[in-house]
């Protein structure tokens, strides 16, 4: 045995910490159920401070548990691409603003990582991305669990080859966006009273003027705008993937076998 060679089986990736994953997912689901079904404080009277605490703690904590569970299974090749995805999320989010686009496009990096390195890396990228973004814009912080979910769903879509066809990618984006919108709505409502950009608030205002409760109006708005945003993001990522040289894809075992 040479001192420079290593056994073929060794690899830096290990199994995920299943307990942490299960705990994280349970916490996120429990938080969502608590917020939507029990609706602790009806928003007509108070401002739902308990709900705010629960959504902050539950979604942030759940995201953190997920990341902790996923970390051991990340190989170096997924590790180097995750910071890139996070930086892309933030930089393209800003670029989209400067180009005057009406959609956020702030999940391009998350979806790209998910497609190249798999659902686990995608979920972790989404969660960490929002945590880092929280350093520049604290309002991103409570949405960490939603961002992780988007990374996870995008990775699953890639696993089943949905990024090979544009219309399939668009459909996957629609579903992912809808799920993302559903999860994000209670956070927006209970943390910030559904305040967002003027554009999204105009949509909420329309539903409110029709008599919807705030949570219902925000959920409908989330379904609408997040779906649109994720359709565009998924199609853009599919187009970028199409233009990538094989050499760039070959370094990712997940994308290679896709």
């Amino acid at each position: 045995m040479s001192s420079f060679s290593m056994p073929a089986a060794e690899s830096s990736a290990r199994r995920p910490r299943r307990l942490l994953l299960v705990l994280g997912v349970t916490l996120i689901v429990a938080t969502y159920v608590f917020l939507v079904i029990l609706q602790p404080t009806e928003l007509t009277g108070g401002t739902g401070s308990a709900a705010a605490l629960v959504s902050l703690g539950g979604f942030l904590g759940g995201g953190a548990l997920l990341v902790a569970g996923v970390l051991p299974m990340l190989t170096t090749s997924s590790l180097v691409v995750m910071p890139l995805g996070i930086a892309l999320n933030i930089a393209i989010g800003q670029l989209a603003g400067s180009l005057g686009l009406q959609i956020y496009l702030d999940a391009i990096g998350t979806v790209l990582v998910a497609v190249l390195a798999g659902p686990a890396a995608g979920a972790a990228t989404g969660a960490i991305s929002n945590a880092i973004w929280g350093l520049f814009n604290p309002f991103a912080l409570p949405f960490a669990a939603g961002a992780a979910l988007i990374g996870l769903l995008a990775g699953l879509a890639a696993k089943y080859g949905l990024f090979r066809r544009l219309y399939l990618a668009a459909a996957a984006g629609l579903v992912t966006g809808a799920v993302g919108g559903l999860v994000a709505a209670p956070v927006a409502v209970f943390m910030f009273g559904a305040a967002g950009s003027p554009g999204t608030n105009a949509i909420i205002a329309v539903f409110r003027s029709l008599g919807d409760k705030l949570l219902v109006a925000a959920t409908k708005q989330g379904l609408l705008s997040d779906s649109l945003d994720k359709i565009v993001v998924f199609v853009l990522v599919a187009l970028i993937l199409h233009a990538l040289p094989r050499r760039a894809i070959r370094q990712f075992p997940f994308a290679r076998t896709r």
Binding site: S2, M6, P7, P245
Partner: protein
């Protein structure tokens, strides 16, 4: 101390990239691996660095011997897999392209150099001592607290060398370390390598052209001054391994290599003019005062960023270029060459004075609207390649100025023919080598068909054949009634190709005249 024998190497089991080269490095050796683009230099260096590509489907047959340990490879599954961490303790490797070699998580040069030992758990006190020692030898001590992302090219390259060498590896392998560096920066890096070599490190460097020999004088004074040695130099004792098409065509001393007629393999020598015959003929006098480009008293200042201006501006620059002319912009780094060039198509807008291209003054039109008249070649061409085939890439220019797809593709095919890339028109631009990617960018410019070309360091990093293609295309463009303005450090190229040179210093023109005065 290390010996690499390559029987054969191929990616994806297709074409053989390397056949037969043997490379041996001893302490204090300086070996230059040279060859034209696509000759297999990078692959050879990566093998030395222990990157046999087995995880990416490459097949390597041959052996690597480090001291008395011999690893044999048969291109099969049972081949040894090299442990990169342990290998790098003996053989340090600095690849092409600086950004991929930075961890990006270090706020200071010191942290970046310490990245490797910190990963290995070296205690803090020892960590500082090791970083200080390697920084001292490479003249990096004053830079230890600087942000690695804000260094000059030469400083960055030396930082990467330090980060790779902090383990005190005995062999240092560098893939085209001088690419994209100007003369001063290249001299700075060459001096740092010479220090390491004199400390006993075996140095292996790849280069598209043969370096000039260093005079045997003491170098690298404590505060690094621009050394009075030729850029990209190698010591007199350097050995040369020349490759052509993956096969070794020369193995011997640098002095012998310079007289071995390697130019028939597309391997030129530093400082040689491009071989395209006689000096440029004066252009025909342009039709009654129709200057293609006219600058009058142009001044420009970069906006202040974080308190410090981020580049030299321009101060009252005026000149004109008529059709048929090739003008070289010359001068030291930071004299304003690139700044001036970027005014010619509206990438930068003058604060005062006027610029007219083909009679149209540049005012507030979008930059993209000048693409039909002014073609711009960036120093870093990789920033524009984005299509999935070379043909589509080259057709993007004509398409974006409004030509229909069949017409654009016809023009693209013709342009690829002119730069000699017709064979790879269906390849992905990123599957090509550096030189070919630059030629793709040039073809893109040709296909769009602007009359004025603005070229930023067009010959940087090119091998001899590509440099000749560039020179020939420039002359043909001028003869056809176009005009060229090029910013360049390549004196031999400017003197052979340009009709006159404008010398810039600190944002103003200091001398105008024929190239023979330069």
């Amino acid at each position: 101390m290390i010996r690499l024998e390559v029987d054969a190497f191929s990616y994806d089991g297709t074409e053989q990239v390397l056949v037969g080269p043997v490379l041996q490095v001893h302490p204090g050796d300086h070996v230059v691996v040279t060859g034209a683009s696509g000759s297999g230099k990078t692959t050879l260096l990566r093998l030395l660095a222990g990157l046999t590509g087995s995880d990416a489907g490459a097949a390597f047959t041959g052996s690597i011997t480090l001291d008395d340990e011999r690893l044999d490879f048969a291109g099969s599954e049972q081949d040894p897999r090299i442990d990169a961490a342990r290998w790098s303790e003996q053989v340090a490797y600095v690849a092409q392209g600086a950004w991929g070699q930075l961890s990006m998580m270090s706020a200071t040069v010191g942290e970046e150099i310490a990245f490797g030992p910190a990963n290995r758990g070296v205690p803090a006190g020892q960590l500082r001592a090791r970083v200080d020692a390697v920084a001292e030898s490479l003249g990096l001590t004053p830079l230890l607290e600087r942000d690695p992302r804000r260094l000059s090219g030469g400083q960055l390259q030396r930082t990467l060398i330090a980060a790779a060498m902090v383990q005190r590896s005995r062999v240092l392998v560098l893939d085209e370390p001088f690419q994209g560096l100007d003369d001063d920066a290249a001299a700075e890096v060459a001096a740092a390598l010479e220090v390491l070599r004199r400390e006993g490190t075996g140095i292996v460097v790849s280069a598209p052209i043969l370096p000039a020999p260093i005079l045997p004088a003491p170098i690298l004074p404590a505060p690094m001054l621009p050394a009075p040695i030729p850029a990209e130099a190698a010591p007199r004792s350097a050995r040369v391994l020349a490759l052509a098409g993956g096969r070794p065509v020369f193995d011997g001393s640098l002095a012998d290599a310079r007289t071995a007629g390697l130019d028939r393999f597309g391997i030129g020598t530093m400082g040689d003019p491009p071989a395209i015959g006689e000096a440029p003929e004066r252009p025909e006098p342009a039709a009654a005062g129709a200057a293609l480009l006219e600058l009058r008293n142009v001044s420009f200042r970069y906006p202040q960023q974080h308190g410090a201006p981020h580049g030299t501006g321009l101060r009252g620059v005026g000149f004109s270029v008529s059709s048929g002319e090739i003008i070289a912009l010359r001068g030291p780094n930071g004299s304003g060459k690139s700044t001036l060039l970027q005014h010619l198509n509206g990438l930068l807008r003058a604060d005062s004075g006027s610029i007219a291209v083909d009679g149209t003054p540049i005012r507030s039109q979008p930059t993209g609207s000048f693409a039909a008249v002014v073609g711009y070649l960036f120093q870093d061409t990789d920033q524009q390649l984005f299509e999935r085939t070379v043909l589509r890439e080259v057709a993007y220019g004509p398409r974006s100025i409004g030509r229909r797809r069949p017409d654009a593709e016809r023009r693209a095919a013709a342009a690829l023919d002119e730069v000699g890339l017709q064979a790879v028109s269906q390849a992905h631009p990123y599957e090509l080598g550096f030189v070919q990617r630059r030629l793709v960018a040039l073809a893109s410019l040709l296909a769009t068909g602007p009359r004025l070309w603005a070229l930023d360091e067009p010959t940087a990093g090119l091998d001899a054949p590509a440099r000749e293609v560039m020179a020939a295309l420039l002359r043909a463009h001028a003869r056809g009634g176009g005009a060229v303005v090029l910013a360049t450090h390549d004196a031999a190229f400017a003197e052979t190709v340009a009709h006159r040179s404008l010398w810039l210093d600190d944002g103003r023109i200091v001398t105008q005249g024929g190239t023979e005065h330069g």
